[in-house]
Structures are given as C-alpha cells and as structure tokens.
C-alpha cells in the first residue's frame, strides 16, 4: 500500500432519467479534475494544495453546484460556502455566505492560514477577502440561466430543490417531472433533486490527507441558510488517518456528523477505510440520503452512497482510475 490517491465528487443523488449528454458532460469534468489533481500529485504538491486546486476547478466550471453555477437563494442570488481541512494537524478553514468571492475554497484556505479563526461568514468573510486581495466578482457572475429556470420551478413547486440540472423540456415543470420518477430525496421527486456540492479528498506520497468541499447550497434556500459543506465534521473532515468530503441531504449529514464518523470508526473501532465508509453509510444515515468520498493515509480511496448515484471519480498511484455516476 501507500502512494497517493485522489477522489472527487460532484454530488450525490442522480435522476435515473438524466439525459446521456449530461452524464457525459459530468464525467468529462470529473476526469479533467482528476487529471489536474494527478498532475499536481506527480509534481509532489502536498495534499492540501491539491484539494484546493481541484475544487477551484470545480467551482470555476458552471456544471456543478459550486462557485459559478451555484444554486440560487429564494432571492435569486448566490450565497456560497466551503471548507477545507488538512489532516496533518487537523488545521481547518471554512466560509459561508459568500457572494462575490470567485473561489470560496481558496478563501476557506486563507481563513485557515491567514486569520486567527477557523470559520468566517457573510460580510465579515467578504471583508477578509478584500483585505487578502482575492479575486472578487459581481454576484451575477455565478448565476446561470439554467439555475434561474430551476429557481422558478422550485418556487412554483413551493419547495426547496437541492439542485436540479435537468433542462426543462416540457411546460409542465415539476408536476411532469414528479410523475416520471418514483424515487425521492428530501420529499422531492429525484428529477427535481440533484444536489451537486463538489468536493475533493487527497492523500499524497507522504501519507498526508486533506479534504475540501464547496457548494452554493439548496435551490430556493432562505438567505443565510448554512448547510453541511462548511461544517467541519459534517461535510468535511481530515485527520492523520483519512480525508472525507460528503454530499447529499445537509440535515442528515449534520446530524450524523458524517465526515467525522468515518475517521472515528477507523480510530475507535479499528476499521479500515472501506469498512468505515460502508459502516457509516449503512448505519449512520437512518432516513437520510447522502454520499461521500474518502482516502486513507495508506493510499486507499473509497466512496459510498445510499443515493441513486453519485457523480464521482477516483485514482490511485497504482494506476487505478474510475469515473462514475451510478
């Protein structure tokens, strides 16, 4: 064992009727991100740099729900959050309520390294961003036409959409969509629920683990709503043993402190990475639907989900590589 390993995700919970071209688009993006991470690992960049680099790429691409392409709040604006954790000393950084910071994960890293705190939110976070000289843009930059359409749909359905990437084909909106698929997540038909929080976990050649997660949150969320992604122990966690990034129903992930759980069962029950991932997915989620990716200091990579699919990719130094949706 040993050697580097990397995994990326673009969200858990996928509509079984997701058009093939969307699946292919997602897989291409995941592959591209994996390649970026792999190059970085081959250049001996430490895990913490690699996760940031990869998540920046995911934020910049409008396909998934983070950075550009983020889900919209009930006000039609974007509020982003992210967290990053370095397993070596369990240093961490998190941000919430960002509206003009181009790459939330990088701001989270700056919170970790350049502030006396671990977590900054809203106007305080934006102020910090300005002082740090990070790239800032107008809120409009993050808003895509797809998401404007989705928000309208969500309001019509008067419910929260976790994320929804299916282009509106018919005129019946949510009603028609609901009839198409019997699967549900968070009380919504799967076709109107497709969360696409992004994340990356890495273990480098030295066995150091790191994790990062970034998101725009729930479609039609209340302004000021914070989900699991910026919460250390819930959406993101890294220790000496492993790095974990989660996605899915935020409430379920928070209540089960899902990311921390993987490391805790490894530490306290002596399970290996795969056993730990299986265990937490099977036993910790109850009614909740979620997925996660994880790496261990031994160079293993694992993913688990109890949803109908998860956009993911993983690779190890030994040559294993896989990108999947189901």
């Amino acid at each position: 064992m040993g050697g580097w390993a990397i995994a990326v995700h673009g969200g858990a919970g996928v509509d079984p009727n997701l058009p093939m071209e969307r699946q292919e688009e997602a897989k291409r993006l995941l592959t591209r991100c994996l390649d970026i991470g792999i190059s970085a690992l081959r250049s001996n960049l430490p895990a913490i740099d690699v996760v940031e680099l990869v998540v920046r790429e995911l934020e910049t691409d409008p396909l998934f729900n983070s950075g550009r392409g983020s889900a919209l709040t009930e006000n039609g604006t974007v509020e982003m959050e992210a967290s990053i954790m370095d397993g070596s000393k369990r240093r961490c950084g998190a941000v919430s309520g960002l509206t003009t910071v181009k790459n939330p994960v990088s701001l989270a890293r700056l919170v970790m390294e350049k502030s006396p705190h671990s977590y900054l939110g809203f106007s305080g976070a934006e102020e910090f961003a300005k002082k740090q000289g990070v790239e800032m843009v107008d809120n409009e930059y993050f808003i895509t036409q797809d998401n404007v359409g989705m928000l309208k749909l969500a309001k019509e359905a008067n419910s929260i959409l976790f994320d929804y990437r299916i282009p509106i084909v018919g005129t019946c909106g949510a009603g028609a969509a609901a009839m198409d698929s019997p699967l549900q997540m968070n009380g919504l038909p799967i076709s109107v629920y497709a969360p696409e929080t992004v994340g990356c976990v890495v273990v480098d050649k030295e066995g150091r683990c790191a994790a990062a997660t970034s998101t725009g949150g729930l479609m039609n969320k209340m302004s000021g709503r914070i989900g699991d992604s910026p919460l250390i122990g819930s959406g993101t966690y890294a220790s000496e043993l492993c790095g974990v990034s989660c996605t899915g129903e935020g409430e379920a992930i928070i209540r089960s402190t899902l990311a921390r759980e993987v490391s805790a069962v490894m530490e306290y029950k002596g399970l290996n990475l795969h056993e730990a991932v299986d265990y937490v997915i099977k036993h910790r989620l109850d009614e909740g639907k979620a997925g996660l990716i994880a790496v261990s200091k031994e160079g293993e990579v694992a993913c688990g989900f109890n949803t109908n699919g998860m956009f993911r990719g993983c690779a190890t130094e030994g040559g294993f590589m896989e990108v999947g949706v189901w």
Partner: protein, 320 residues
C-alpha cells in the same frame, strides 16, 4: 435513575485570585439558573424545553458571555451564536451573527422547528427572527461596560483573547490577560436528561473578545460545541478553533459507543486530547450520570441530580 442537569458559564483562564465582586454574581447566576432547570425538570418538562429555558436565563444574565453581556467584535459590535439539539430525534438548530435577538437560543430552536434548515446566520437569521415575532432590541442592550473595557484591553494588547492557533500576532505578556481576571470567559450551556432518558443540549455565546466580524466559533457547529444522541448530551466551551478541530461534543458520544467506556471516562478522554488550556465540557448520560471535565484553569459550572446531589464550582473540585 432520575433526571439530571448540568450548566456552565464558560471555561478559561479564570484566576484563582478572582475577586469576590466578579465571582459572587456569577455563582449566584449559576445557582439561580440551576434552580430554574431543576424546577422545570421536577415539573416534568421535556429536556429540550429545560435546556432552552436555562440558557435563556444565562443569556439574560449580564455576567456571562452570551446574550446580554456578550463580548464584542473588533468593531465593538455584538454577534451572538447558539445551537440546540435533541438527543432522541437528533434534530438540531443553530444560529450565528445575531445582533438584535434577545435570546439567540430560542431563535436556534425556531430554526430547528419552523424551517427545513438547521442553521441560519446573519441577515437571514435576523429576518427570520422578525418573521417569527421573536423579541428584538437595539444592539446596545447586549453591551456592558465590562465588555467595552475587555475589548479595549484586547485591542491594546493587539491580540485575540482566549484563542489563536496560528502565531500571526505579536506575543504579549501573560499578565495582560490575567490583569482583567475574567477576560477568558466564553459561552454558556446546559445539558439535561429526564427520568425516561430523553437528552438535550443547548449552547450560546457572544464568541471571542475582539474577534473578526463574521467569525463563527464552535458553539453553532453541531458536533463541535454541541451534540446529543441517545447516549449523552454535551455542551463544550473554550477555544472555539480547538473545539471545532477536535469535534469535541461529538467525540464524547462516539468514544462511549465505540470504546464502550463510561461517560466520565469518555469525557476525560476527549478533554485530554485537546491542547491544555483550551476546553471544558458538561455532559449527562441517558442513565443520569453527569461529568464536567476541563483542562483550563477553571470552568463556571453547576449540576444537580434527582437524588438530591447538587454542586456549584469554578475550579477543580473533588466531586464528579
């Protein structure tokens, strides 16, 4: 087995030489809040109601760092945060960046019960509070002369009190912190269990003196400052950044479960693993045990059980 309750008013570098005028009001506050909790448990209120009630009392008390009496941000403002969790259902609620809501813990409860979300912050939290008709006041209501003084001292010392994990600011003599005596106070909390084993926890704070505007600590982060499940309920206090990294509240329950050890052993184990001088916690188990370990100089705390035991303490005591 019967009911049990524990409360805290913050762990930190509370000097043994704390003068009576600073110590007595806090002891009296703890005593009163404990009595409120005991009465509520005797009246068979659900632990979730009990912890909210007690934390509201602690928030209203001006000598603790929560609600009125909250420490100030670097801009001289108040940004409060709180969280609450029910051990049986594991439903939870949290708020941050609250500046006008008289009782942040009640807002956290409303987030839990009246929204599909767990955590609301800043403007969104304030707007929700108004929608819900919660009592709001001018921010000046929360600001006390002591805290204005604390902020001034911290800014003169040019460092964030109670907490920094990176040495980015210049070192200052330890005396600067001790001079004020009670500058290292953070957070209030309450954990309770009824005689059916229902558990609940609530934590509330003004945060760190001189914190950056927008800084969020461990208090509203489920698993860090607050956690409850079927085994135990936990409320932590101390250096937020260390508590977050150490997922302190969650770990107590995790260690009990995975290592099969007692509440007391689990809590001690977790406190041992955070850097010295950074944390304390109170916790009760489903079977009515209580433990309140800390690795700081002191922790304002109190507890009581149905069989008549009660305790109020600040520094080390020989009891549980």
């Amino acid at each position: 087995m019967g009911w049990a309750i524990a409360i805290h008013g913050g762990a930190g570098d509370i000097p043994l030489s704390l003068p009576p005028e600073k110590r007595l009001p806090r002891e009296a506050g703890l005593r009163r809040c404990l009595e409120v909790g005991i009465a509520a448990l005797k009246a068979r209120n659900h632990p979730l109601d009990v912890v909210e009630l007690v934390v509201r009392e602690l928030e209203n008390h001006p000598n603790f760092n929560a609600g009125k009496g909250s420490v100030l941000t670097t801009s001289g403002t108040v940004e409060m945060e709180a969280s609450i969790m029910d051990g049986k259902t594991m439903k939870c609620g949290a708020v941050s960046g609250v500046s006008t809501v008289v009782n942040a813990i009640s807002l956290a409860r409303l987030v839990m019960e009246k929204t599909p979300h767990i955590y609301l912050a800043f403007d969104g939290a304030e707007a929700f509070a108004r929608e819900q008709g919660l009592e709001t006041v001018e921010m000046s209501h929360f600001i006390t002369p002591e805290n204005i003084e604390r902020l001034k001292q911290a800014q003169e010392a040019d460092r964030v009190q109670i907490d920094y994990t990176q040495p980015i600011q210049k070192e200052t003599p330890k005396d600067a912190a001790v001079a004020d005596g009670d500058s290292q106070i953070g957070t209030v909390g309450c954990v309770a269990v009824d005689n059916e084993g229902n558990l609940a926890t609530a934590t509330s704070t003004g945060g760190l003196v001189n914190k950056m505007v927008g800084r969020i600590g461990d208090t509203p982060v489920i698993g860090a400052g607050t956690y409850a499940n079927h085994l135990c309920a936990v409320s932590a206090t101390g250096r937020g950044e260390a508590i977050i990294r150490g997922t302190v509240a969650r770990d107590v329950a995790a260690v009990m479960e995975f290592k099969g050890i007692s509440l007391k052993e689990a809590a001690a184990y977790v406190i041992d693993r955070v850097p010295p001088g950074t944390a304390g916690l109170i916790t009760v188990s489903s079977t009515g045990e209580i433990t309140m370990p800390f690795n700081t100089t002191g922790m304002f705390r109190a507890c009581a059980t149905e069989d008549g035991y009660s305790e109020i303490a600040i520094w080390d005591s020989p009891s549980k």
